[in-house]
């Protein structure tokens, strides 16, 4: 099959499907004796991407594959299509989501510990229903609390290819009114806590690497 025809099929499939398609999905569109090679598909996808240059949409790759999406700079006009404004999420929900994204897998108790307030069931329910978060296991302590991790849908929704694309976690900031001696102590205790956390990360099989806070810079400060 020539590349022009292939391109049309890929274009059509991406627009018709309404979701991201990966190479495997695209190959599945063809008869068994006509399946295009991965390289050929990648070349065609690159062509398509280049041709979008001056258009109202672009080809993007997210966690679950390729999709066409309307460009961000057009949002002010596009958003007038809908009666309702795009949903705004509460800080409580975003903070909970951030903790799960950066510290996964972790329990509700872990989240409450860091946020200093209880996490409402409503928030957890919303995150699960949106399929941004799922239960990946249970911690082996009394009560066997659920361990939460983010999903591919979460990455897709926020336009991320992988967890590594998350904005880097900010450094720990000094609390100004505390003298330097004290802040040293603080950094030490924090590091212990981090070690424990990364231990728990290794325990469960979550494949993605976390964007870790840059410990080096903190060490230099000290």
């Amino acid at each position: 099959m020539d590349n022009d025809h292939l391109k049309k099929i890929v274009e059509g499939a991406l627009l018709a499907s309404g979701r991201s398609l990966d190479i495997g999905h695209l190959q599945g569109l063809f008869d068994i004796d006509q399946v295009p090679a991965k390289d050929q598909l990648l070349a065609v996808l690159e062509d398509i991407e280049n041709e979008c240059g001056n258009r109202g949409y672009e080809l993007t790759k997210t966690a679950s594959g390729y999709r066409f999406q309307v460009r961000q700079e057009l949002a002010p006009w596009i958003n007038r299509l809908w009666e309702e404004k795009p949903k705004k999420y509460s800080r409580a929900l975003l903070e909970t989501l951030a903790l799960i994204a950066y510290r996964q897998p972790l329990t509700r108790g872990d989240i409450e510990e860091i946020r200093g307030v209880s996490v409402s069931s409503e928030i957890v329910k919303t995150l699960l229903e949106r399929e941004w978060v799922r239960v990946v296991g249970h911690r082996d302590v009394p009560g066997r609390p659920a361990l939460y991790a983010t999903t591919r849908e979460f990455l897709d929704y926020f336009n991320l290819k992988s967890l590594e694309d998350l904005p880097a976690l900010s450094e720990i900031r000094d609390i100004d009114s505390i003298d330097p001696e004290l802040s040293l102590q603080v950094a030490e205790t924090t590091e212990n806590a981090e070690e424990q956390l990364s231990d728990s990360l290794e325990e469960s099989a979550v494949e993605q690497e976390m964007p870790e806070s840059d410990e080096e810079s903190r060490v230099q400060q000290n």
Binding site: G12, L14, L15, A16, G18, R19, Y57, T60, R67, F68, Q69, V70, R71, Q72, A75, P76, I78, N79, K85, P86, K87, Y89, S90, R91, A92, L94, E95, L97, A98, L99, Y102, I114, R115, G116, V117, S118, D156, Y157, F158, N159, L160, L166, P167, L169, S170, E171, I172, R173, I175, D176, S177, I178, L182, S183, Q185, V186, T189, T190, A193, S213
Partner: protein, 292 residues
């Protein structure tokens, strides 16, 4: 545009007025979330304007609920105090705060007791810190961690994720900043193909059923001659939706003697199973058959 509501979201400085989820139900309070207009009332409480957040931890009781809604908990509130109001946690008048927080308890009965408990816990923590700072230091002092360290560690850790939440909120989001591009799909041509079944599968299934059934009531599964059962179905089909059908019309002479016998047996069986009724209005009159 959604982004315009957070002019200083990207900066590290906490906002003067934390954003409040507008969907949250905050009774008797009008909140606004513009960080620059400090003259605007932060909240209306019983007709009185609250123009700004408190400068320290003394929160007027009537405003407490609103403040609690505005902050994501005591850590958030403390962070705000430290960063914005240059609150020195060493200088807190713990006795005063404790007295005030205890007074809140009564009010809390009717409000969010659970949430308030977290603030009370913080007050207790601050009180503990303060009291330990005031005590004369003992010789074992070295081994003892500074009482503030744990609180500071938590504040710092919380601040990182508060920032991370804001960063995530800034990411281009599907349905707000970018949009899935779709076009109408071509007409669907294919339906899901029906499962294939081989006759052998049916026979095997029947064998299974019969084996199971034989165990209990072997007499039940005496299969009649198939032709009779089939003819029963055919007769039922003929009688369907009809009133009375002449008995003789059910027979096909072309089928010969055996055909007539099969049909007769089928009708007898149908009568026996109470599937049809048979009517003869007078002796030697025409016989009619009707599905029951």
């Amino acid at each position: 545009m959604a982004l315009s509501t957070s002019a200083n979201r990207g900066s590290m400085a906490p906002q003067t007025v934390p954003e409040v989820d507008p969907s949250q139900d905050i009774p008797a309070a009008e909140l606004h979330s513009h960080p620059l207009q400090e003259e605007m009332p932060f909240a209306m409480i019983m007709g009185r304007q609250i123009t700004e957040l408190p400068k320290d931890l003394y929160i007027p009781p009537e405003a407490l609920e609103v403040f609690l809604e505005a902050f994501e908990g005591p850590l958030d509130l403390l962070l705000y105090m430290i960063r914005r109001q240059n609150l020195d946690i060493l200088e807190i008048n713990v006795a005063e705060i404790t007295r005030q927080y205890m007074a809140y308890i009564d009010m809390m009965q009717a409000m969010q007791l659970e949430l308030a408990a977290e603030y009370l816990l913080m007050a207790a923590m601050l009180a503990e810190i303060k009291s330990r700072m005031l005590l004369p230091r003992q010789a074992v002092e070295e081994e003892e961690e500074d009482p503030r360290a744990e609180l500071i560690r938590r504040l710092q850790e919380y601040e990182r994720f508060k920032q991370a939440a804001e960063d995530i909120d800034e990411l281009p989001r599907l349905g707000r900043d970018v949009f899935m591009a779709t076009a109408k799909e071509p007409d669907r041509q294919s339906e899901r193909p029906q499962p294939d079944v081989a006759m052998k599968e049916i026979l095997l299934s029947l064998a299974d059923v019969l084996r199971r059934a034989e165990m209990f009531e072997s007499h039940k599964v005496q299969l009649e001659k198939l032709s009779t059962r089939e003819r029963m179905s055919q007769v039922m089909e003929t009688l369907r939706d009809k009133q009375f059908v002449p008995f003789v019309s059910l027979f096909r002479l072309s089928e010969g003697r055996s055909g007539v016998v099969v049909t007769f047996l089928a009708i007898m069986e149908l009568i026996k199973e109470s599937l049809v009724e048979i009517v003869q209005s007078e002796s030697y009159g025409p016989i009619h058959v009707k599905a029951r």
